[in-house]
């Protein structure tokens, strides 16, 4: 019997190893070379990593990405939780509305991005005057936050809805009989009970926003100037367009470690305050 379990795991393991682990290990090797992506190369040790820490452009990309990711994560979770509570209440057209709010999740980010790009560049200036916020180096990141939150909230809503449905009715009834108001019930009963779902959403959204790429390609392409260049975009443009494949691979590996550390830290903090029935 136990042999059968191994056989069930093996295909996934092989696929994961061949298509994920091997390329990652290859990347680690290339990050120690001066490989431009083609032709000959030589091992140069840790020089790419040393240069990374001397590059102010990489620091700028980190600052932008973290600023963006933290703001977008907070907004996504606040908005998604509010909408999920609304969609969990006894309202009319509940099923239809749940479908509507899920639609952004199935649309391709690039297409959504191009549509918003048009809205920012043409429709909004036509209604309110001024020019596109995407053309303003100080405000362009706000445009990206708007699109990212709009798109990401859909998935977070689904997870919160699933969480809200695990709350037993009798607990809420008991709280009501004890005289708890709506806000009190939310803070003391609902939120503690959906805390595991909150943890999942916070970790997933922060991780996804730290890897932001498509939104930026569709909206600003990292501009104006380099104001909205995220770490992933920098890895792509520097590595493939700029011809510094090995250098940006080193950047990618450092960033991978950063994301893992951030996620573990987040899980530790958030799981500590989860309640259970």
């Amino acid at each position: 019997m136990s042999r059968a379990f191994y056989w069930m795991v093996l295909p996934a393991f092989v696929l994961f190893f061949v298509f994920h682990t091997v390329p990652v290990l290859q990347g680690v090797y290339y990050s120690l070379t001066n490989y431009p992506g083609y032709g000959e190369h030589a091992v140069i040790g840790l020089r790419n990593y040393v240069n990374l820490f001397k590059d102010d452009r990489i620091l700028d990309a980190y600052l932008f990405t973290f600023k963006f990711a933290i703001v977008a994560t907070v907004l996504t979770n606040v908005i998604a939780l509010a909408i999920a509570i609304g969609l969990n209440a006894r309202i009319r057209f509940r099923t239809a509305l749940r479908g509507v709010f899920f639609i952004p999740n199935v649309l391709a980010i690039l297409i959504v991005g191009y549509i918003f790009n048009y809205l920012f560049a043409n429709s909004i200036p036509a209604i309110f005057g001024g020019t596109s916020i995407l053309a303003n180096p100080e405000l362009a990141w706000v445009g990206i936050v708007i699109v990212a939150v709009w798109q990401a909230a859909a998935f977070a809503i689904i997870i919160y809805l699933a969480g809200l449905q695990t709350i037993p009715e009798d607990l809420l009834e008991a709280a009501m009989i004890d005289g708890a108001g709506a806000w009190r019930r939310f803070v003391s009963v609902v939120f503690p009970l959906i805390a595991p779902f909150f943890t999942v959403n916070m970790v997933l959204s922060l991780k996804n926003f730290l890897q932001v790429f498509d939104h930026i390609v569709a909206l600003t392409n990292g501009g104006p100037g380099t104001a909205t260049t995220s770490v992933s975009l920098l890895i792509y443009t520097g590595g493939f367009q700029g011809g510094e494949y090995a250098y940006q691979t080193a950047n990618a590996i450092v960033y991978f470690i950063v994301i893992v550390l951030v996620s573990i830290f987040q899980l530790r903090i958030l799981q500590r305050r989860e309640a259970s029935l």
């Binding site: 431009p36 032709g39 790419n48 020019t131 180096p137 380099t226």
Partner: protein, 404 residues
């Protein structure tokens, strides 16, 4: 244990273009074509080539953002048989890395004008004396203008910087936008930058810069000041408009001039402008020189899978009549021994080709990792000239340090 390999083999089969195809159908060439505007033109060329060579099939691959795409293919060790690439710094880098074939001993290179071949070779070759690509079409960087608006406001195509500024002032005073600017696409600042950077700094600037004897801050003050001056004569929403919108707006007569190279003319003509298009060289210094680059370079893999067939296709492409027909359709200059375009829009630029007062694109000497275009976009938004020059000098030094 063998079972996991079956799906793998199937996937590999789906990815490989030739899998399961019998050899009786002849040879299939993988042709990487970088220029989205020219897809149809190359389809026509391929069709007549295939009619002449029944045993060879050519598959045209064209992708957006070709320079990143060709690199991703090379990372996978997958070099196309025959390629066209823009004669820019990526071409030079790939040629220096030894990706392309050496044409120096092939007869096919003899049709090309030597001065234009030199512009391409200057970008980089694997070893001195090698020829790693053949110029197929040349472009000209200049200023495109609306002949109707010029005639109506009594303005003549300027031949000095003062005349250019005076023309822009005159249009502005008459309520006509002098230049339609499209800075949402950062690269659209490059044609004007190139024209200025080609004429104002000393001709050996990049050699001196590589040797560390001069900085951008020393040699580029005037270039940046003039660029900033030109870009003040644009429309109000210049930072939220892109290249395609610019082509349309210029074709609809919304500006008197357009700071783009000759490669934009086919796209403008597609919108059927109701006026005649003219071009002049941006008069940055005296005597004015024309920035000209190799718009399309043809080359093939150093070791292609089908060397004979690939060479046959390259030879077909480099026939003078094929090059002329392509140049006519794409409003390019065929880089033949007597480079000449019959296109009326380019006539004012022909004297530069005849006299050979051509100069390559300066930005091809600037490593792409510096990201010149976004930096220019930033400068044109905030006007911080010293900040721009400091940044480009520091990026240059960092890039050189990483390369060494």
């Amino acid at each position: 244990m063998r079972r996991p390999y079956l799906p793998l083999a199937l996937v590999a089969c789906l990815l490989a273009p030739a899998c399961g195809q019998g050899s009786d159908r002849g040879v299939t060439l993988d042709f990487f074509q970088f220029k989205p505007e020219a897809t149809a033109a190359f389809d026509t060329i391929i069709k007549s080539f295939e009619a002449e060579h029944p045993g060879i099939r050519v598959v045209q691959n064209h992708v957006p953002n070709a320079e990143a795409a060709i690199r991703t293919r090379l990372v996978k060790g997958d070099v196309p048989d025959v390629m066209t690439l823009n004669g820019a710094s990526v071409f030079g880098e790939l040629a220096s890395a030894g990706v392309f074939r050496d044409f120096s001993k092939e007869r096919v290179k003899d049709v090309v004008s030597p001065s234009i071949q030199r512009i391409l070779n200057d970008l980089g070759t694997r070893a001195p004396g090698e020829v790693n690509g053949l110029p197929f079409a040349s472009n000209a960087g200049g200023v495109i203008y609306n002949k109707d608006l010029f005639a109506r406001h009594g303005v003549r195509p300027p031949s000095t910087w003062q005349e250019l500024v005076a023309a822009a002032e005159k249009f502005k005073a008459a309520g006509v936008t002098p230049f339609y600017l499209t800075l949402k696409d950062a690269w659209t600042a490059l044609p004007a930058f190139n024209a200025l950077a080609a004429s104002i700094p000393p001709q050996d600037f990049f050699a001196q810069r590589r040797a560390g004897k001069v900085t951008f801050a020393q040699a580029y003050q005037d270039v940046m000041a003039k660029l900033g001056q030109l870009f003040q004569y644009g429309q109000a929403d210049r930072f939220s408009r892109g290249y395609d919108e610019g082509n349309r707006a210029f074709a609809e007569g919304k500006s008197a001039m357009y700071l783009q190279g000759s490669f934009a003319i086919p796209a403008i003509r597609e919108i059927k402008p109701a006026f005649e298009i003219g071009t002049f060289a941006l008069p940055a210094a005296e005597p004015p020189k024309l920035v000209s680059g190799v718009d399309v370079a043809v080359t093939m893999a150093r070791e292609p899978a089908h060397p004979k067939e690939a060479m046959a296709f390259v030879e077909y492409l480099m026939r003078p009549e094929v090059m002329r027909a392509y140049a006519k359709e794409q409003v390019a200059v065929p880089p033949l021994k007597e480079a000449r375009s019959e296109d009326p829009a380019l006539q004012e630029l022909m004297p530069y080709f005849e006299k050979g007062s051509l100069i390559g694109y300066p930005d091809h000497h600037i490593p792409l990792t510096i990201q010149l275009a976004p930096l220019l976009q930033q400068y044109l938004i905030d006007g911080d000239q010293q900040g721009f020059l400091r940044e480009i000098d520091s990026e240059w030094d960092k890039a050189m340090e990483r390369r060494s």
